[in-house]
Amino acid sequence: MTVSELPAAEEPLVEVVHLTKHFPVKQGVFSRTKGVVHAVEDVTLAVRRGETLGIVGESGCGKSTTARLIVRLLEPTSGVVRFDGRDITHLRQRALRPIRREMQIIFQDPYSSLNPRKSVGQIVAEPFAIHHTEKDRKRRVQELLERVGLNPEHYNRYPHEFSGGQRQRIGVARALALQPKLIVCDEPVSALDVSVQAQILNLLKDLQREFGLTYVFISHDLSVIRQISDRIAVMYLGRVLEVGASESLYEHPRHPYTAALLSAVPKHELNGGTTRRERIVLGGDVPSPVNPPPACVFHTRCPRFQRGHCDVETPLLRPFARDHLAACHYPLERWPMSGEELARPFGARAANQPEAPSSKQA
């Protein structure tokens, strides 16, 4: 909450502008390029200092690619990445190195992201070794281990001696080592059991408060995203369909895709038992990112699809409330909504009636 109260004039920590990443699809003996995967397409986002920006979407929506572009593990096809006021889009490795100290990443799988042949002490001290900092590494590592809730005595143990949750804590300690400004958390709790997941989420929140960290938090889990994020971007097929303050977006999503995502999450209630809400079930599957649909990428599955409009004209992100944008021609008038109501967009023009400005009463 602290974030939205910050003066808007303050420069964001991270800015990406019209960011696009295409991966070539190669085929045949001569590896000829047969097409491109549109992994990230024209994404513009800002991450403010001290906030958590959640990026949510289904597999293949480009959320992890976006994160990797932000920390420059990938170089964008086009667009600009600015970190702390500096354009880092095309910096060389050498020039990037000092900036890398300020941005760290925590990965999804605590089993494959820790070297099994190195002790915990070595793993957490590695950033110091790379950046040639810190005299008293052992003491510092032990402090870090303690801070993330591990026993500092376990300095000489190996990853296999730890449970999944403890391993993720090791990953957090490593990310904290160089006192970064930004930590990208790429599905950090997806591989963990619920009871442990809550421990890690609470830890991340505490650390954020203590060290004034900025997070980009990637997840496919809308409940986790809601719990941790100040602002949220919803991605689909490489594009941001909706972005806004967490509360605003969950209380009244404007994009039909966000609405479908929200209603698809199975819910449990502490007191209400098993009340069944009407679920908006989207038909079909996510189209291939090699051949994304024209205009609005969501139109092939959208319950509000209007022929001749949504498949012709690309909707741009436009504001709906304070700090809340969505890219849709027929945004949701209210929420919650039944599947049937959703399918009848207010003010939709008929297919053979391209301009009907006054027919508001649909």
Partner: protein
């Protein structure tokens, strides 16, 4: 509303099931003294974290555990016959025909080199003496029934041409080949995206109604259970902690472990001030703790918990739970917790 109607005939009754694995490190007590029943028309949600024994118990029901390493004790009664006493050839007749199963990863469950339709047709011919042509027709029918568009042409596709959701649909079609009485779904939606998960859960529910079968749905996601199950069993360290009709378990959860699960789960409904995690991690099943297996992590443990194992016994509400806490104390704790959750003072 009190007590879901348990009118359907009993399909499956598990009594005192224990599974132990002999390993180099010692004996793993994967499942201990598990008992439950499944009736026609019911969906039993089995919830638990990794290592709670939920998958192992379903593998035991399917007779898929290698008895050379696993000791299986107890009774698994399917329409009165104990599956554990059946010779392998008789068990094979039951498995896949009367009881069938779908798994978490639909890609690993389909052979990559055979057409999807051919794999389903093969399943038809395992238990039925029909021509290849008839079996193929049946496969196409089933693919259409589980919502694969253009089933006739898609049946000729290979698994890699199917999306994750379509593969899971194909697995469900294969499981339905012989009109089973019981369908065991082991984490059927865990590998899928939420919007596809919603489609598959809906399909399983539809299949249950249309084929009038009993479903055992194994999952780590309480939300999935809350939306689809008629009955719930919460497992921890190989044991049932709480068991009963879903609306009772969710409206009046009795076991501190169930409370912990409910509270540690973030929800899309609102942002909670704090998540209340369950501290610590699950015990090693090589040396399960004495007494209640949950006591080392339980906030409410008291004198007998580390010595005496509480039996799974009926509580005043009607369902079963395994905890020493007095019912009045639980009611008190639960109501204050709900109050905290709703932001009102009790």
């Amino acid at each position: 509303m009190s007590g879901a109607p348990r009118s359907g005939p009993v399909l499956l009754e598990v009594r005192d099931l224990s599974v132990r694995f002999r390993t180099r490190d010692g004996i793993v007590h994967a499942v201990s003294n598990l008992s439950f029943t499944l009736r026609r028309g019911e969906t039993l949600g089995v919830v638990g974290e990794s290592g709670s024994g939920k998958s192992v118990s379903s593998l035991a029901i399917m007779g898929l555990l290698n008895r050379a390493y696993a000791d299986v004790e107890g009774e698994i009664l399917f329409e009165g016959t104990d599956l554990l006493k059946l010779p392998p050839d008789k068990l094979r007749e039951v498995r896949g025909r009367d009881i069938s199963m779908i798994f978490q990863d639909p890609f690993a469950s389909l052979h990559p080199m055979y057409r999807v339709g051919a794999q389903i047709a093969e399943a038809v011919r395992v238990h039925e003496d029909v021509s290849k042509r008839e079996a193929w027709e049946r496969a196409v029918e089933l693919l259409a029934a589980v919502g694969i568009p253009n089933a006739r042409s898609r049946a000729r596709d290979y698994p890699h041409q199917f999306s994750g959701g379509m593969r899971q649909r194909a697995m469900i079609a294969m499981a339905l080949v012989h009109n089973p009485d019981v369908l065991i779904a082991d984490e059927p939606t865990t590998a899928l995206d939420v919007t596809v998960q919603a489609q598959i859960l809906e399909l399983i529910d539809k299949v249950k109604r249309e084929f009038d079968i009993g479903v055992i749905l194994i999952t780590h996601d309480l939300g999935v259970v809350a939306e689809t199950a008629t009955h719930v069993m919460v497992m921890y360290a190989g044991r049932a902690m709480e068991y009963g009709p879903a609306h009772e378990v969710f409206s009046a959860a009795q076991h501190p472990y169930t409370w912990g699960l409910l509270e540690s789960m973030p929800t899309v409904e609102k942002r909670l001030d704090v998540l209340v995690p369950i501290e610590g991690s699950p015990p090693s099943l090589l040396r399960p703790p004495p007494g209640c297996p949950f006591h080392p992590r339980c906030r409410y443990r008291f004198e007998p918990c580390d010595k005496v194992r509480p039996p799974l016994a009926p509580v005043p509400g009607g369902h079963l739970d395994a905890c020493h806490l007095a019912p009045e104390r639980k009611r008190e704790v639960w109501s204050t917790r709900i109050a905290a959750e709703l932001g009102v003072t009790a």
